[in-house]
Assembly symmetry: C2
Homo-oligomer: 248 residues x 2
Amino acid sequence: MLLKNISVDCVIFGFDNNKLNVLLWQADPKLLTHILKQEEDYEQISFLYDSHPSLLDDHTWGLIGAHAPAETSLDEFAQNISSESTGLTGVYLKQFQTFGRADRVPYYRVVTIGYYALINLHYHNLRKSALTKKMQWFGIDELPPLCFDHLEIIHAALAHLRETVQYHPIGFHLLPEEFTLTELQTLYEAILGKKLDIRNFRKKIHNMELLEETGKKQENVPHRAAKLYRFDPGNYNRLVNEGLNFRI
Amino acid sequence: MLLKNISVDCVIFGFDNNKLNVLLWQADPKLLTHILKQEEDYEQISFLYDSHPSLLDDHTWGLIGAHAPAETSLDEFAQNISSESTGLTGVYLKQFQTFGRADRVPYYRVVTIGYYALINLHYHNLRKSALTKKMQWFGIDELPPLCFDHLEIIHAALAHLRETVQYHPIGFHLLPEEFTLTELQTLYEAILGKKLDIRNFRKKIHNMELLEETGKKQENVPHRAAKLYRFDPGNYNRLVNEGLNFRI
DNA sequence: CCAAAAGTGTTAGACCTACACCCATGA
DNA sequence: TCATGGGTGTAGGTCTAACACTTTTGG
């Protein structure tokens, strides 16, 4: 059974083309209603779509989310949503804020619990789930028209990420397992929205002793090949726990 | 109308006796559990419970909270709850986490949105609160038995406060309008759970230019009277907005 | 004059910021 | 050999941490 007044929305962040991107979808209501077993659930979903023609429109996008089932914890359900939509399991997921304005969804009271996911785009090809009409990455500065208050939710997720990333080493979840220092720096620049000094950045990262060299280098680049690094999991976990001495 | 599956709980923090305290009211888990077995009556009975906290026994306490009404935003409702229970309006309130384990309340699915309030104990007398008969402050290290997952919620609120207070100047909401530097330091020591160096603390606070002298001093103290300070609202707001350069 | 808390400064080391040039690679 | 991005060090200023004594007040 679905909880009528509660939904979960996931702001799925990925880093690519030196930009921070968000995964959005357009749900297919026909497909959606097929999988709903209970009459009650069916009615709710079709009511939602009937009363919001913009949900059917090709130009309006939304966050990946759904009404929460009564039997599942919110954290688990957020994992389910993000793994179904990206094909990835065990992604970094953070509950960041709950949105509860009375009129945030017209005609019906829906409180939505917002999570953001940080995923590494190189790990998979996006597979549309059965429910999905379209799914696409958008740069955070190039968002399409969004339904409901989803723009506000994305901005809140970004603000939360931007702050958290300065004290906790979570940005790394957006990178592939092996990466260059320049990629790491570009990632931070994209999240924080400002340029960082290359020498100071590298000094800082090295002092943290968070990374280890893989011994490998980039290949097939038309310039000097950069060293590839990975995290030292021991120190990474130490920093995650100690937290606050991570400052970019 | 109340939303059956959604509640709001407020962790109301106050600072007194050099300790951080939490305001709790009483709940009777036996009574509540018994009632919850009849799902149909749940809404009615819980409404009764919400409006008559005198249905209480002496041993188990709970956070101040209630099922959310369908017509009110969560933020507004959290304000209502905290102002009704403390008599204070316009208190600092922060939504910090939503608790959504499927079994957090027995026999029924209730997702609760957690807020914490920071209030100044000197501003009011708790007994004035109309809805509440049994209500009491407890030191955060001397909590009584709590219903449901309320202990977990309090610990999460504390952890959030402890972290936030290091980067944002919000701790001040716990102090009266005029206060001494020693009170400010003791507050930070209570929140962070560690001793701070008096000279370094004072230097830091002075450098922030966050405070202004009132020109007054303590009276009737059996030792040298300390100067009383208040916030410089201009700089306070600047720091709230700029945020992150506030570090204790 | 005693008890109790208020108030104050310095130093050494760590960290931050600003800044410019050579290096390695593939085309 | 050129274009492109990779990679490195230093100096000045600021911030931090550690540390002990004098001042004010009421009783």
